[in-house]
């Protein structure tokens, strides 16, 4: 007797689509490289050293980044929507992206304050990554310490939003005193970017992302209990405070590193869980966690492929593409289904 659906066909189909899109994504770019050479470069070597470098050091890391970013943001969104019982929650409700923005703003916009040679040092790529990490980590610590004291889950949501407002205000003040050049650099960071990650950066990214993912997988049972509500979950033997902390920690680790390395990428975290629920029509996290991860990766690869505008030298801001492509799809799905599955 079948007790619950396993969705085997959907998973196989999604994995095939993911694999195809991965190769499509690598084959696109300002320099056109024949498909055959791409395959041989990935799995062996080719004579053309320039193509080798383009594929191995630029396109491959970028495609992997897209997968990590898409799946990571999707999972964080799912965790937050279940934890806060709110379909509008996303990975950034805890103020993670505002924390990162504050860190980056302090480095880029505040560099004038430090002046001279020091400013030059501060605005390198690594300093931005580190600033974003520290920023989101500090906000995370604040939220965690508050959430271990507050019993009401909704209060944490509001507190996260308040942190967001505070940091946004600080960023505004900093912007007011900044030069046009600094502002431009800050705005460019805000566009989000999947490219320019070195293998070392990607390794660090992957490690932190994996820790977050492992915690998420171990939270599956807790998340399913939370579908009933806090009191029911507790009556099922769940340690509410501990599991809530773990879920928040997983979200922060994943969304924090994504923001540090790829900028504040909006929309994906909110939309992917909803799109996935439309396909899988399930609320069971045993199904949803892998489904959201794969689907998020697919959507991010598609968005990145569009952002490159195949055949041109331009790369559009990824943050604009995700919303431009994604928002109409979500609207269309909701109108078609007439109901938000949550």
């Amino acid at each position: 007797m079948k007790t619950s659906k396993t969705y085997r066909y959907q998973f196989v189909l999604l994995l095939i689509i993911l694999a195809i899109l991965f190769f499509v994504n690598i084959s696109l770019g300002s320099v056109s490289i024949p498909t055959k050479s791409i395959f041989s470069s990935l799995f062996g070597s080719i004579d053309n050293e320039t193509w080798n470098i383009i594929i191995r050091d630029f396109r491959l890391p970028k495609a992997i980044t897209a997968i990590l970013v898409g799946s990571g943001l999707g999972i964080s969104g799912l965790l937050m929507q279940t934890l806060f019982r709110n379909p509008l929650a996303g990975p950034f409700v805890l103020g993670i992206s505002s924390g990162a923005s504050l860190g980056v703003a302090l480095v880029i916009l505040g560099s004038g304050l430090f002046g001279g040679v020091f400013a030059g040092l501060l605005t390198t790529k690594w300093s931005i990554v580190i600033a974003a990490s520290i920023g989101s980590f500090l906000v995370l610590l604040a939220v965690l310490s508050v959430s271990s004291r507050v019993r009401d889950t909704m209060a944490i949501l509001i507190i996260g939003l308040m942190f967001g407002s505070i940091t946004a205000a600080v960023v505004s003040v900093l912007s007011y005193f900044s030069s046009a050049e600094q502002l431009q650099q800050y705005i460019f960071w805000g566009f989000g970017s999947l490219s320019n990650l070195t293998w070392t950066e990607l390794l660090i990214f992957t490690i932190i992302y994996s820790v977050g993912m492992v915690i998420s997988i171990f939270s599956i049972k807790a998340l399913n209990s939370l579908l009933l509500g806090d009191n029911y979950a507790q009556s099922l033997g769940l340690n509410l405070k501990k599991n809530r902390l773990l879920i928040i920690l997983a979200t922060s680790l994943i969304a924090g590193t994504v923001t540090a390395f790829a900028g504040p990428i909006a929309f994906i975290g909110l939309a992917i869980p909803h799109l996935t629920r439309q396909i899988f029509t399930s609320s069971n996290h045993k199904v949803l966690i892998p489904a959201v991860a794969i689907f998020g990766a697919i959507v991010m690869l598609v968005c990145d492929s569009i952002a490159q505008i195949p055949g041109s030298d331009y790369i559009l801001p990824i943050n604009a593409i995700t919303a431009l492509v994604g928002a109409p799809v979500v609207i269309w799905l909701l109108i078609r289904q007439r109901k938000l599955i949550f």
Binding site: N224, S225, N231, L236, G237, S282, S283, F342
Partner: protein, 264 residues
Amino acid sequence: MKTNNNNIILEAKQLSIGYKTKKKDIVVASDINFKLLQGQLIGLVGANGIGKSTLLRTLIKVQPSLSGDIFINNNNLQQTSNTSLATQLSIVLTEQLTSKNLSVFELVSLGRNPYTNWVGNLTEDDIIKVNEALELVNITELKDQRCFELSDGQLQKVMIARALSQDTDIIVLDEPTTHLDMYHKAYILKLLQRLAKETHKTILFSSHEIDLAIQLCDTMLVMTGNNIICDQPSQLIKNGVFNSLFPKDMIAFDEKSGSFKISK
């Protein structure tokens, strides 16, 4: 009625309930003593705001007691861990489910969570228990439906089935008959009576359906402003306990029919 210690499932001793604030304790009710036995259906009645929910919340360990002790299977509730309590006590609350997108089977099988592995996989034994719970409540045919498709009455049965699948000695229900029509109110309470008999579980529910509770319960807990009385319904009527439940100028208890009448 047997009253040897083995059959006492839930016991309150000198219990005082209420809310703790920094300045002082707000006592809702104190000096609560009662013993609930195995296989009994117990109705908890009292006026609005008298503290029924507070008492239930204290008994299910959602809220700490101010003083006194609660014993479940002769173990002090304060020393019982959440995981151990989950195998002894299950609940049906009035609060809305977070997600109504689960199928009935999925929702009922969540009751097996205290027994399943880290990822929540159901063993064959778990599936048997879930199906038994569905059958006991007569909702096997709803199994594949999603919860948002159900009526209030059906959803209440599903929540009862979920509590049953948790396989506990006690089920505590907070106002299981609200939002239901006359027929379903009677149906749910009759169902609880049958479940208490068939499964030998202790079933404690709070309700405003005093007339129905008098007819169906083995024991009733009556909360009045002064104290909590625990006795058989017939004894409670004889002692005139129900007369003190509400102000007499509005409604009065009619001992012959066992129901309340509006005062003329």
